[in-house]
Symmetry: C2
Amino acid sequence: MKTSQIKVSEIGEKGLIERIIEKSKTCSIYGFDYDMDLSNFATSIGDDSALTSIDIDDNSYLVTSTDMLIQSSHFPKGMTYFQMGYKSVVVNVSDLASMGADNIGFLLNIAIPKDTLLDDFDDLICGVISACDNYSIPLIGGDTNEANEIIISGTAIGQVYKDKALMKYGFEKGDLVCISGELGYAALGFELLDLKEKDPDLYQEKIYKINQIDPTIIDLALLKALKPEAKYEEGHILRDCNIESNRVSATDITDGLASEFYEILNSDKKYCHDNNSNSYTKGIRIYEVKLPVENEFKEIANILGLSYLDLFMHIGEDFEFLFTINEELRDQLSTEMNYYVIGEITGDDTVEIVLSNGQIEKISSRGYLHLK
Amino acid sequence: MKTSQIKVSEIGEKGLIERIIEKSKTCSIYGFDYDMDLSNFATSIGDDSALTSIDIDDNSYLVTSTDMLIQSSHFPKGMTYFQMGYKSVVVNVSDLASMGADNIGFLLNIAIPKDTLLDDFDDLICGVISACDNYSIPLIGGDTNEANEIIISGTAIGQVYKDKALMKYGFEKGDLVCISGELGYAALGFELLDLKEKDPDLYQEKIYKINQIDPTIIDLALLKALKPEAKYEEGHILRDCNIESNRVSATDITDGLASEFYEILNSDKKYCHDNNSNSYTKGIRIYEVKLPVENEFKEIANILGLSYLDLFMHIGEDFEFLFTINEELRDQLSTEMNYYVIGEITGDDTVEIVLSNGQIEKISSRGYLHLK
């Protein structure tokens, strides 16, 4: 229940910024009292830029990532304001985590329609702050604006030791191709939300059938679609393993696993080319039997008339990691985090899947691309 | 003349990012070869986050600023794509400069309609890169998206010695109130562009009259409105003067001079309150005769049926600095940069102007505020 009908236009830009500062004190369980020294932060509130105390020397990189979420493209119908705010932090933290970075701070740049209810604005900000809390990344600055729809542009800032940074490139033939968790649930969630919007009766009918197979799966799929989480801890674990004898490469899966396969190969090819290694022949082979997919998931995809492999490989937005390790690291890593070895780096110029019937199929790069 | 009708949708998100990287090599007069070491930058192109080598210790702050420009609110009709891109850098560099910061890097987050012509996209990116060149701030990362109108969210990152940072607060009664240059030209430019759009005949008539007074002023006003510049050098000069005995406070004028007067007073009041100084009585008095306004500007405002003082004080967007210095710094600073002393900090709780006829008038805080 909304307690009031006040609109953001009655508060104005500066009032909203004060409100964000206030919320970050009251919403946050830390009240800005993170591990790091934020005494300087208080000093620069309301000034032209945010000031942050950090200590970065020649051994580390400053790591920065910026991502814009636009209501009509990125927020499915049914997403709450809290979830919109939360996701705007997750997408950026995920990019930092997949480099193995430690978080320093988050900048929030938000545009909203002027008739947005203040309560909804508050919910959105609480989503941002809640995510900042979860990932120990303080909100250090930002800006508010007016637009026809909600636009959230976040910038996450972190740091990482140069020799530990998790790049997309740097794997060799024989390295294991791994993912940090199950894929396809977010994609399933998007399909369900879309169906609910377009054909509520058919949606109810499908839901009934799905619940007979597994009554928990719909909630899980909706959670993954509406309130994804970043693999922050896993990023740190992989980074700490990334030493010369144990090379690790990593990226977060945002545009679909298949698309990311081509991303890491292109990145590695470019890297090898820049390092004067001109002939490049590496590829990826994965195995259907190694994919972490429950039978119930396959059945449910079937009920919805979808290919489970499509959901698994071509949608993304689960924010799991695709990463490579060398064989020697396999056992040690198993003691530190959950992950699945789904295939290996090959010496062929192909990306392919060995199906459970033994057939080998090429995997196309078709992923979700904006502006296509 | 556009040489082609290719749309950005034919290139796709990743193609556009590659295009930006390509442009930053070819458009930039530096070709990414700035003073700083960017060898790491090349390494992280296309990865999840940007990696930058910096050296910041306990004596410095990381300085960050983020600003979103939305076509319908921030880009007047008649602004070119190049100018849109250019301005997106200027607004952020201006925020960094007004803290006295040295630039480290710029992140570009851009959303465009999918039917945008590739030539226009290229022009916009060249505007971004040209501004990055001018202010020696390398483009280190970013993202592209699709939206119904052009949205550019920039993030500028810099650093400043802690004891040199130019805050909005920290002035005393008797300090001089200064501006770094003439104000009101951007406001005049916006008025002209608006009139041209709404009533082309009346516009031509006014232009004819204006040109009889001063044929250069229209070009200057349009330049200030369409291609503003940040006071980067001035920020460094003021910062270098900001030592204990020569306190300097500064902010860039984005929402209008009058609005910034109240901003710096509020900031100073909060600062004094946080430092346990409970009774606060400071104000600002400026003098009409000290304002850097040419008679021709007054006459032209008159032709347009506008108050020149309104243009000077209530619009902003000139990106000049409002700053305070103590009297002892006056002569030294004159040898280093152009500026105008327009008044002083008083011990009264008012913001007022002494008009040229001797009358004293209160100045209201009315500035340009989004979402109001």
